[in-house]
Amino acid sequence: MSATEIASTAPNKQGYRSFGLGAFHFSRDEYFVHIDWPTGKHVLSADVFLRALQRDVAWDFFYGTVNFDAVFGTVNHYGTVDMFAGRFNEAYRKAELDHTENFDTTDIRETFKAMLEDWTNQGFDPFASPEETDKPFGVKDGSNTAAITRRRVAAQRMVGVPGDEQIRTDATHPINRMFADVAQDEPELYPEPGFEDEVCAYSLFAYLSRSDVTWNPSVVSVCKASLYCPTTEEYILPIFHGNDRVEWFVQLSDEITWEVQDRDTGSPRAKVTMRAGDVAAMPGDIRHQGYSPKRSMLLVWENASPELPELIRTGQASVYPVDF
């Protein structure tokens, strides 16, 4: 199958096309998304599904597993992607109702993008907090292409460095209502003549106060494979992220509570409450979902080294952050 051949039907009574990929079939109505596969079927709120789908598309399947809920999701193999139902759900596994198929990343990406485009109505922004967007429900009502195809911000060295990602200003990124009190002063730079391009600093907190998306890590600084991927969080992370490596969080402002479950079974393991200044690791054998009552600033710190999943699989790297 090539990227241009997306299997879809004509619009249904509610105006939405249905999509197929492998033996999976997807359709939506006014409130719900329906998924079926050879051994079962599943229903999710269109709200939950579209917010999760948006992250999966925007992050190009991210690191490890993106669980849309306790049943459906994707696993990134960096070149191919597994789409699964019930695979990380103990009861589905026992009942042998789980199903997994592997696709070239291009094929699943294009199908997911087409589904996101067709099922997102005008006025609904899957990246926005629920307070900042219209509802996703109802019959087909236009589209919101600009919101769902935002350019992914990814600094090559650091935000503010000449030629790299630039700081945000009122012209394009007004300060978020929940960050109205965040100081907007920028660093004072005194470069000597000739070093104007090499004496670089910016206000990360001001930059984040102007983010127009939630739960969307984007790279601001790069030390080889060490990536600072801060993000602003409000309401609930639309996915349960299943780790294929250790991931670290630095809570820069306010508070998030993480619900942590076993990655493979979904069994609860811990609740981690992080407040400003707290640092914690998410082990490589869990899945996690965050709750942020007020918009907060979270620094997600990733090691993007492509060898890590294999090192963990072969026991050369631990799923735990440090030994003490």
């Binding site: 600093a201 990360l204 030390c223 609740k271 407040r275 690791a281 735990y320 003490f324």
Partner: protein, 166 residues
Amino acid sequence: MPSTSYTTEFGSLNAFAKGGIEIIDDNPKNYAFSNIFEVAGSSRPWEKVAVGKNMEYVLEVIRAEGTSEWRTCAHDEFPLVMDGEVTIELVRLERPAVPADKAGSVRLAGEPVGARMGRMVLRRGHQALLPAHTAYRITATAPSVVLLQTIFGDDTVERWADICLS
């Protein structure tokens, strides 16, 4: 009438409220949970205490107080000021003081030899670039807190058992 004005909490050396872990079926050590301000509060000035580690990469908490030694590094590093105010001076070293594959920063003996690049004054929330093969020196007139994105080096301090919830 309920309020819709918001206060953003950043925490500081003198005022922070650490969160915690409610264990259901796990070991708290698996989360290596610490607090930057608490670590800085119990650190000597300029000590580089790891609060995050992923293979060779680390996040170091540095209590900035007074004037640091001159240091240099073969790769870029990125300080983020979490509390207070620091001034960073940069010098373009005439000759690199460390081999290209050296991980983490090293202390320079004496004054750096090279062109002065300038200085930066950073306050809370500001992130800076310390370019590879420059020399840098940090000053802070009042105790301040820096989080440094770098690689595990000769002077990285690990005291996980002291700083992490267990």
